[in-house]
Amino acid sequence: MTQEAVSVHAGTRGFYEDTGKRTGIRAWIFSTDHKRIGLLYLMTMGVFFLLAVAFGFVMRLEMLSPGKTVVEAQTYNTLFTLHGIMMIFLFIIPGLPAVFGNFFLPILIGAKDVFFPRLNLLSWWLFLAGGLLALVSVFLPGGAADTGWTFYVPYSVRTSTNVLPALIAAFILGFSSILTGLNFITTIHRMRAPGMGWFRMPLFAWSLYATAWVQVLATPIIGITLLLVMVERWFGVGIFDPTLGGDPVLYQHLFWIYSHPAVYIMILPGLGVVSEILPVFARRTIFGYKFIAFSSVAIAAVGSLVWAHHMFTVGMSNTGMFVFSLLTFLVSIPSAIKVFNWVATLYKGSIVLEVPLLFILSFIIQFSIGGFTGLMLGALAVNIHVQDTYFVVGHFHYVMFGGTGFGLFAAMHYWFPKMFGRMYNKGPALASWFLTTVGFNMLYFPFFFLGYFGMPRRYYDYLPEFQTYHLISTVGSWVLVLGIIVMVVNLLIAYKRGKTAPANPWGGRTLEWTISSPPPTENFHDIPAVTTGPYDYSEYEQRQAEHP
C-alpha cells in the first residue's frame, strides 16, 4: 500500500488517481481517505442545500402578497419545517467541519488522515441515511412534518404528520455529528506533526477543536430529547405531554440546551475560516493569535450556558431571566475580540482583493449586524417585544447565512484550487459575490423592520401594511438565488475545464499550500517538521517596511 501510494505522488491528479483498487462510485462511497469523504459530504450536502434554498425561495414567493400567492397554508408550514430541518441538520451543522474540516484538518496539522478513518466513513453513511430519511418522510402517507424544526411539544406529539421519521432522521444526524467531533478531537490531540504545538496550529483547526467539543458534549442532549418525544408518540409514555402531567416547557429547555450550543457548532468554524483566510490576503501575521484561539474556546464554553434566552416569554423566574440575559451579553465579548483582531490584521496590511477575501469582508459586516441584533434580543425588554417575530428570523439569518454561509462560500473559493487542482474564472466569481451580498442584504434586512413593526414569524398571511418590506425581501431572494446559480455554474465549469492550479495560488503559509494541488493520497511524503507559527508573513512585512 505504502509503496504504491508513493508512486502515485508523481501523478498530476493526486489522490484522485488512487482509487484504492475500487471502481466507479465504489471508489468514493467505500473510501476511508479523509479527502474523499470531505468531497462526499460536499456533494450530498450541496444537493440538500440547493433543495432547502428552493424551499426558501418558494416561501419568499408566497410572501410576495398577502393571502394565498402560490401555495396552500399547510404546504407553507411544511416548507418552513423542511427548510429549517434541512438547512440546520443537513447543511449548516455538518457544513464547514464535515467538508473542509475533513478535507483540510489532517493536512493543516501535518497528518496523513484523521485518527479513526473508518469511523469517519461511517459518519458520512449515517449522514446520508439521515438525510434520505428526512426526504422520504416528505412523501410518505401522512404528509410532511409541520412542526417547525424545533419539534415543540405538545404539537409534535399530537400532529398526524410524519414527525416520527423526521425525529429519527435528526437523531441519526446527531449521531453522525458526534462521531465527527469525537474523531476531530482525537486527531488534534494525537496526530499533530512534530513541532506543531497547540499555538502553532492554524486557527481553523482551533475553531474545529472548540466546535468538536460542543458536538460531543451537547448533541447527546438533543438525542435523548428527541428519543423521549419518539417514545411519547410511539407508546404514549407520559413525559412532556401536559395531559399526562408532563411539562412542555421542560422540553423547550432540553431542546435549547442542545440547540443553542448548536448555533456555535454552526458559527465557530465560520469564524475559523475568516481567521484562516484574512492573513493570507492581508499579507500580515494575524493580529492576536492567542486571543482568537482562546475566544473560540470561550464562545464554546459560555455559549453552552445561555439556552434559556430563547424562552424569555414562556414563564421563568426573574432571576433566571436576568442570569440568562447577562450570560448572553457575555458571549458577545469573545465574538467582538475576534472582529477587532480581524480588523487590526487588515490595518496596514498589503491587501490583495481576491474573491475569498471579498466573501470574508461580507461575512465580517453581516456577522456584526447579526451579532448586534443578537444583543438587542438578549436584552429582556426588547426581547419580549420582538420574540417570535421576523426580527429574530432576520437576526439568525444574518449570523447563520450572512456569517457561516458566506464563510462557506469564502472557504469554497479559497480552497477550490487545492481540492480540485483547478482555477475558477475570477469574473463570474466576482459577480456571484456581488449578487449574493446584495441579494442577501435585500432579502434579510427588511426582516428587522417587519419584526420591529410586529410581523410574527411562520405566519402564512399578513396585514397589507407589511407588503412593501415583503416585496423588497422577495426581490432580494431572486437576486440571491441568481448569485448562487452563478457561483455553482462557475465552479462546475472550473471543475471541468479550469486551468491547472499551482500548488500555492494565494501565497498561503499553512501546510496545505506546501503540497501539490490536488494533494497526493497520503498528503505528505514525509511528515513535515513545523518550526514557525501558521501565518508567518514577517519577512514580507519587513520588506514592506524597508521599501514601502
Binding site: M1, T2, A5, T32, D33, A111, K112, D113, F115, F116, P117, L119, I178, G181, L182, N183, I185, T186, H189, R190, M191, R192, A193, P194, V216, L217, T219, P220, I221, G223, I224, T225, L227, L228, V231, F235, G236, V237, G238, I239, L244, G245, G246, D247, L250, L254, I257, E522, F524, D526, I527
Partner: protein, 209 residues
C-alpha cells in the same frame, strides 16, 4: 522516518496508538453519560414537582429484585476487569472464561428484568394502561420514566453483550492478545458505563421512597 515519530500514522490504517484509541472511547462514554444525563434532569424536575406521587409509586417496585440485579452487574464488572489482567498476563483461556462469565451475568440481568417488567404489565402498569392512567399524574410520570430509563439501560446491556461477544471471538482468534488488548479495554470500559448508569438508576427508582 514518519512511522517512528509517536502518534503519527505511517499510512491511513497502519498506525497503532492505544492512547488515542482510549481517548476516543472516553469521549464516546462522555456522550453516553450526557445522553442519560438528559433523562436524569427530567427525573429530577418531576421528582421536585411531584414529590408525593413519586414516593407512592416507588413503593410499587421490588427492592429485592433490584438488589439482585445490582449485585449481578457489579460482579460482571469485576469479571470483565479481571479479564484484562488475565489477557495482559497471556492467560488466554482464563480471559475467555471471565469474558464468558460477564456475558452470562448480563444475560441473567436481562432475564431478571424481563420478569420484573412482565409482572408490572400483569398488574396493569405500562404506558397507556387504563389502570395507570387512573392514577395521579406524578405516578404516570414516574412509571413513564421508569420504563424509558430502565428500558434504554437494558438496550445498552444488550449492546454491551454484543461488544463482549465480539471481544470474546477476537480473543479466541488471537487478535486480542497480551500485546494488543486495547479493544478489550474499550469493551470493558463500555461495560463499566452500563454498570455505573445502573448504580444511579437503582437508588433513584428502588431505594428513594
Amino acid at each position: 522516518m514518519s512511522s517512528t515519530s509517536p502518534g503519527v500514522a505511517a499510512g491511513p490504517h497502519a498506525h497503532r496508538d492505544d492512547v488515542g484509541s482510549r481517548l476516543g472511547m472516553w469521549l464516546f462514554l462522555f456522550t453516553e453519560l450526557i445522553l442519560f444525563g438528559g433523562m436524569f434532569i427530567v427525573y429530577a424536575v418531576y421528582r421536585f414537582t411531584h414529590p408525593e406521587a413519586f414516593h407512592l409509586a416507588a413503593a410499587e417496585l421490588d427492592t429485592f429484585v433490584g438488589t439482585v440485579n445490582t449485585i449481578i452487574l457489579l460482579t460482571s464488572s469485576l469479571t470483565v476487569a479481571m479479564s484484562i489482567t488475565a489477557i495482559q498476563e497471556g492467560r488466554k483461556t482464563f480471559a475467555l472464561t471471565l469474558v464468558g462469565m460477564t456475558i452470562l451475568l448480563a444475560l441473567a440481568f436481562l432475564v431478571n428484568k424481563y420478569f420484573e417488567w412482565g409482572h408490572k404489565f400483569d398488574v396493569g402498569i405500562y404506558p397507556g394502561a387504563p389502570e395507570l392512567l387512573a392514577q395521579p399524574q406524578g405516578v404516570i410520570l414516574y412509571f413513564g420514566l421508569y420504563f424509558v430509563m430502565t428500558g434504554l439501560h437494558a438496550l445498552h446491556v444488550i449492546i454491551g453483550m454484543g461488544v463482549l461477544i465480539y471481544d470474546f471471538e477476537a480473543i479466541r482468534r488471537g487478535t486480542i492478545n497480551a500485546t494488543s488488548f486495547v479493544r478489550l479495554e474499550s469493551g470493558a470500559l463500555y461495560w463499566h458505563l452500563v454498570d455505573i448508569i445502573w448504580i444511579f438508576l437503582f437508588p433513584l427508582f428502588y431505594l428513594l421512597h
